[in-house]
């Protein structure tokens, strides 16, 4: 797929009829969605409905059986896929932070630009310092992950991802492992990003947050998108029984 063919007015992430199975278990049963540049999309749904799997398919951590996923015109479901090109465009933050424990906060942020993008150390350090500032962790540059709280680690992880200068950020339940008090600081960081115009796709159980920042909400259940829409209509006038039941349990 020719990458230069993509322009801003086309979806930055375009998912069409994606099917994904683990062995006999079909987890995604024909998912389609389009995300425009600068949009914030929240994916909600019961446990096991395939939210993580979908997110992971977008940056090729999982492969798919059929359908198409395009990121800025790059077809992800392609044997010839240049993974590096894809990963320069897509940043990912995990539920368990997954920082490199043997590197300090700033080293975690610097590692990929240095090793993968081969940028100059001086340049990278400046970028990293700014990112650390951006996620409000000044003074923690030289702390190791083991010396940081969960919320702080997660913000380092966000900074680490941003250091690759991605166009799309994927967040998979990034606050699920945090104490209620620290959830907020991570959400604030994500909100800052969204307000700066970063395209974000996030799986979350924080309905209040989703309502506040999402441009569009998707509800998935058992591998299909049951219902979707902008927060206002989605929360107030859900039509599907499953959606209603899920919302009534969680809100």
């Amino acid at each position: 797929m020719n990458q230069s063919a993509w322009t801003d007015d086309q979806p930055i992430v375009s998912i069409k009829d994606v099917h994904k199975s683990f062995g006999d278990l079909e987890v995604l049963k024909g998912i389609s969605m389009d995300v425009m540049k600068g949009e914030v999309v929240c994916i909600i749904g019961p446990s096991g409905s395939g939210k993580s799997t979908l997110i992971r398919c977008i940056n090729a951590l999982n492969d798919i059986q059929s359908g198409s996923i395009e990121v800025e015109g790059i077809e992800v479901n392609d044997k010839q896929l240049n993974k590096l090109e894809l990963r320069k465009k897509v940043g990912m933050v995990f539920q368990q932070y997954n920082l490199f424990p043997h590197k300090t906060a700033i080293e975690n942020v610097m590692m990929a630009p240095l090793k993968v993008l081969k940028q100059s150390p001086a340049e990278v350090e400046e970028i990293a310092r700014n990112l650390i500032k951006k996620v409000r962790l000044e003074g923690k540059e030289n702390s190791y992950p083991g010396e940081l709280s969960g919320g702080q680690q997660q913000r380092v992880a966000i900074a680490r991802s941003l250091a690759m200068n991605p166009d799309v950020m994927l967040f998979d339940e990034v606050t699920a492992a945090l104490d209620p008090e620290t959830v907020k600081e991570v959400l604030v960081t994500i909100k800052d990003l969204a307000e700066e115009g970063m395209t974000c796709m996030l799986v979350t159980h924080e309905m209040g947050f989703a309502k506040e920042i999402a441009d569009h909400i998707y509800f998935t259940d058992r591998g299909v998108i049951v219902e979707h829409g902008p927060p206002a209509t989605f929360f107030d006038s859900a039509k599907d029984e499953r959606t209603k039941e899920f919302l009534s349990q969680i809100l």
């Binding site: 951590l61 995990f94 368990q96 043997h102 590692m111 090793k115 993968v116």
Partner: protein, 252 residues
């Protein structure tokens, strides 16, 4: 000063004939010991480095997508772990040594094999200890969470970069105590190079006590003390390293 030192041991040997520290008062014997120590040190350093490299590369190959590569590594480990190292040494030197090419020496008629007995000793001992190192590193690698590697993958690291910059540094830390043990064993096992006439410390000591039976006890004592010091230095170095690599707030 030196003269007094030598005189003391000459006198000791006169007074107590079983305690002839001949290498302390006869420069020729001292030279043998020094040469032996040099060979032992050389064998130890070369084998430690080479066996660690074998361990690192072998553990990487063990995770190869290719069944063949994994099979070869497994075969290598089984062979070298389950046969006596001394037999391996003899096998390398006498069996394989026959097939390695030789070059003609400067005198025009002697044949000098490309790999000397020292070379074979290093190869054989490194392969022996390397087999254990592969297993040691493998268990360290298994302790690195899949999700940490996935994070590197998502950041665009190649498989090799992930191994080199993330997996290995973490696996090393887990592996150090076991590696420590294996390297201590390796240093002690260098003495078996005597079997193919490598002039290391044990070889020199045996020669000395064969020539001068009165030097038997002192030479044995020297052997023990030398190895205690040598292994002590290694263990100290490894501990320092372990300490330096400790990550704040991580692990035990």
């Amino acid at each position: 000063m030196l003269e007094a030192f030598m005189e003391f041991f000459r006198q000791l040997a006169d007074d107590y004939p079983r305690w002839n520290f001949i290498f302390f008062h006869e420069p020729r014997q001292w030279a043998r010991i020094v040469k032996g120590l040099q060979y032992t040190l050389w064998l130890s350093i070369a084998c430690v480095l080479l066996s660690v490299i074998i361990g690192v590369v072998g553990a990487w190959m063990q995770n190869s997508p290719s069944k063949w590569v994994r099979g070869i590594v497994q075969g290598y480990i089984q062979f070298f772990r389950n046969t006596p190292p001394f037999v391996q040494l003899l096998f390398f030197y006498f069996a394989l040594g026959q097939f390695t090419p030789a070059v003609t020496g400067p005198d025009g008629w002697t044949e000098i094999p490309i790999i000397s007995n020292v070379g074979w000793a290093i190869i054989s001992l490194s392969m022996f200890a390397g087999a254990f190192n592969v297993e040691i590193f493998r268990s360290g690698i298994e302790a690195v969470p899949e999700s940490t590697q996935e994070a590197a993958d998502a950041l665009g690291f190649t498989r090799l970069q992930t191994y080199k910059d993330v997996v290995l540094p973490l696996a090393f830390r887990v592996s150090l105590p076991a590696l420590n043990n294996n390297l201590v064993n390796l240093v002690k096992t260098t003495t078996q190079a005597i079997g193919i006439a490598v002039p290391e410390l044990l070889y020199q000591c045996v020669s000395i006590w064969n020539d001068y039976p009165s030097a038997l006890y002192p030479t044995m004592l020297l052997l023990f003390v030398s190895f205690i010091i040598l292994v002590g230095v290694l263990v100290y170095g490894m501990h320092r390293w372990e300490h330096k690599m400790r990550i704040p707030g991580y692990g035990g």
